[in-house]
């Protein structure tokens, strides 16, 4: 161990200069951030453990709450179904299944977004006290979200069984379809993370706007809308395709608009890579505003 630390000290030369990262090329900044993430994997794990466990520390059921809460959710879905409240017309599968999968995906999008958007401010005093890779804060928050998503998906599988819906074989691609949703959410989130430290309204504005998008995405209603204008708007909403595709591979075994989907995927990957760079070059500048 002594050998290890000493070796580390010999080579390490650190330079702090104004706008160091701004001078970096695009690819260089992506690599830099990726390197930071790999280097701080221990830290990400520890922060993750802290936040995951501490939520359940002074509680009777402890970590089981992760499972208990969604189970209660299932009961309410079943109730609404048998009470006949949920019946918006034919979507090809039992509506609660359609709705629950859609909202789970939407929820994943929103929580990936807010996890990364609140990444910097959640670091708060820590950022002012200690020098560490701030990417770790965002990665940590995202990991929490991922855990919740896994639990939600497990719940959804239970619901599928309850309603006797057989998922299509294309469900195997489901994890892949999550990736573009993740990219778009985190892409928007990272830019908001930096700006929200400087101007506090940014989070509110973007979050409300994204909240509105829920109604422009076929999640609580089916994909066929009679009004051509609304149809047009819905088509240009990337989330229509991203969420739709993830849902379609599970329930229908196809992707409704492959062309639109490809465009949406390209857009989200582009947003992600761009905002990764934007975050990396500017996040150091905002530490003093925290």
């Amino acid at each position: 161990m002594l050998f290890l630390t000493q070796q580390g000290t010999e080579a390490n030369i650190t330079v702090y200069e104004p706008e160091q990262r701004t001078r970096m090329g695009f690819v260089q900044s992506w690599l830099g951030m990726a390197r930071n993430l790999v280097r701080s994997r221990d830290l990400i794990y520890q922060l993750f453990k802290r936040d995951l466990l501490s939520t359940y520390k002074q509680s009777f059921f402890g970590i089981f709450w992760i499972v208990i809460a969604p189970l209660i959710g299932i009961v309410s879905w079943l109730f609404m179904n048998y009470a006949g409240i949920l019946n918006p017309g034919d979507v090809g599968v039992p509506y609660p299944v359609y709705l629950l999968l859609g909202t789970t995906l939407w929820g994943a999008f929103m929580s990936f977004y807010s996890a990364s958007a609140s990444g910097l401010s959640s670091g708060g005093s820590l950022i002012l006290q200690v020098n560490f890779s701030h990417e770790a804060l965002i990665a940590q928050q995202i990991a929490q979200t991922a855990v919740n998503l896994l639990v939600n998906i497990t719940t959804f599988i239970l619901i599928l069984a309850l309603f006797r819906v057989r998922p299509q074989w294309t469900s195997l691609f489901f994890p892949l379809t999550i990736v573009p949703i993740f990219c778009l959410a985190v892409g928007i989130g990272m830019v908001v993370a930096v700006f929200s430290v400087v101007v506090h309204d940014v989070t509110k504005v973007v979050t409300s706007f994204l909240g509105l998008l829920l109604f422009l995405t076929p999640i609580i209603y089916g994909p066929r809308i009679p009004n051509p204008l609304i149809q047009e708007i819905i088509w240009w909403n990337p989330l229509t395709h991203l969420v739709g595709a993830a849902r379609d591979v599970v329930l229908y075994g196809r992707i409704e608009h492959p062309g639109g989907y490809v465009l949406a995927v390209l857009l989200s990957v582009f947003v992600f890579l761009l905002s990764w760079r934007l975050f990396f070059v500017s996040e150091r500048r905002v530490a003093e505003k925290l």
Partner: protein, 424 residues
């Protein structure tokens, strides 16, 4: 970088904005700029409402050297430390660091109160940049040093504040830095832990760790540091030997400067007025407020009652540090506190309608520094001043001439010094 130089700061500057709204605007502008990849050319200029918190500071630190960072409150010490620690990005200049930086600035950063000491050691350790394996190896040493015993597996919430600080310190010390940034944290914990910390820091220095030490305790700076850096309003006022640096610091706070800054303020009912307040060395001239360390001195003032209604008044004199912390009170009264009973240290001095009070302070243990004096007179039974004068006078305890006297007065502990009072 030259041979053995582990840290060099080259003309570093950092600006801040006083106004929150403006700071928000500039911040958004700067973020946008850096996002589109434009390197600002006007970073060296101040925009409206901005000021230099650190202004062209440059120094170098070699292996095993200890640099004392001193300056009045708000002179930029913490900002500089944060730049060196990589928390703030400098606005100009360049910092080059060779090796690992450890900061004893915020002990126990990121501690979670509900998690156990064991869990927090790993958490805090990784925050400070240690790998999990590294903490595994050093775990026992940390626990041993923090001396938290059976509390190891209890939530940190249940720790006393001293225990938390000890744990934080123990972890920070284990990160084995090449450069240690210390911000007044050595003054935490009980006496035995302080001694342990001190020894630990000293042993690190002898092994070659360089240190930057921020403190308001000039005695500690002089004992511990090889060089000193004096900041004044963000500017580098002096960089050189620690001894000279401390002297400059006192010079800066010195007499002229000080009296110009703090003018006497009248408070109370205005039924007593004070005049001719002076503090001077015993046997010296009343005009000279510079007192050699360790020498007796006189606090002298004249008072006059507008109308003296009672014979039960108390004269109160406070000696404060320049920053305003009480160092010593000198109270005496016209009659005993409780009728017919005089306490061992109680001084009874009857006052006339007007007169001069002369307090002879014997064998004071005040470390070289500037002190201020408040005076007042109040009735014994009511806590309202008939008249008082805040910042009535200031005096300097000047620097000792010999090394020997440093040892004697180096550790300033002001405990009730003795005095006697004459009224004429």
């Amino acid at each position: 970088m030259g041979e053995d130089v582990v840290l060099s700061a080259d003309q570093i500057s950092k600006k801040f904005c006083r106004d929150l709204r403006q700071s928000m605007y500039y911040g958004a502008l700067d973020v946008c700029r850096s996002m589109i990849g434009r390197v600002s050319t006007r970073r060296h200029h101040l925009r409206q409402g901005e000021f230099w918190a650190v202004n062209h500071v440059g120094f170098a630190l070699k292996r095993g050297e200890t640099l004392g960072l001193i300056g009045a409150n708000g002179s930029g010490k913490s900002t500089l430390l944060r730049i060196l620690n990589g928390v703030y990005e400098p606005d100009a200049g360049r910092v080059t660091i060779q090796g690992r930086v450890g900061a004893l600035i915020a002990l126990g950063a990121g501690f979670h109160p509900l998690m156990t000491g064991r869990e927090n050691i790993y958490l805090n350790g990784t925050i400070l940049g240690m790998a999990t394996r590294e903490i595994d190896v050093k775990f026992d040493e940390i626990v041993d040093f923090a001396d938290i015993g059976e509390f190891l597996d209890a939530p940190v919430k249940t720790y006393s504040s001293g225990m938390q600080v000890r744990l934080g310190f123990a972890i920070a010390m284990q990160s084995d830095p090449d450069i240690l940034l210390v911000d007044e944290v050595l003054a935490v914990g009980d006496a035995s832990f302080q001694k342990k910390c001190f020894e630990r820091v000293l042993s690190m220095i002898t092994r070659g760790t360089a240190m930057i030490f921020v403190s308001h305790s000039m005695s500690t700076i002089e004992r511990l540091c090889t060089s000193g850096l004096l900041l004044s309003h963000g500017k580098q006022a002096f960089w050189g030997s620690a001894r000279e640096c401390v002297q400059r610091y006192f010079g800066e706070l010195g007499n002229d400067n000080l009296l110009a800054k703090k003018s006497p303020t009248k408070i109370g009912l205005g039924e007593v007025t004070f005049s001719a307040v002076s503090v001077y060395q015993d046997g010296g001239s009343p005009d000279n407020p510079n007192i050699e360390v360790g020498k007796d001195f006189i606090i002298q003032f004249s008072y006059e009652f507008v109308k003296k209604v009672s014979d039960k008044n108390q004269v109160r004199v406070w000696i404060k540090t320049f920053e305003g912390r009480d160092v010593q009170r000198i109270f005496f009264q016209e009659c005993p506190f409780i009728d017919n009973k005089i306490y061992p240290n109680e001084i009874i001095v009857p006052l006339k309608k007007a007169g001069t009070v002369k307090i002879h302070v014997r064998n004071p243990r005040l470390f070289p520094q500037t002190f201020r004096v408040d005076i007042g007179i109040a009735p014994l039974d009511i806590d309202v001043h008939l008249g008082a004068l805040a910042d009535a006078a200031a005096f300097n305890i000047t620097h000792p001439a010999t090394e020997q006297m440093y040892l004697e007065y180096g550790n300033m502990t002001v405990t009730n010094f003795s005095y006697d009072v004459t009224v004429s």
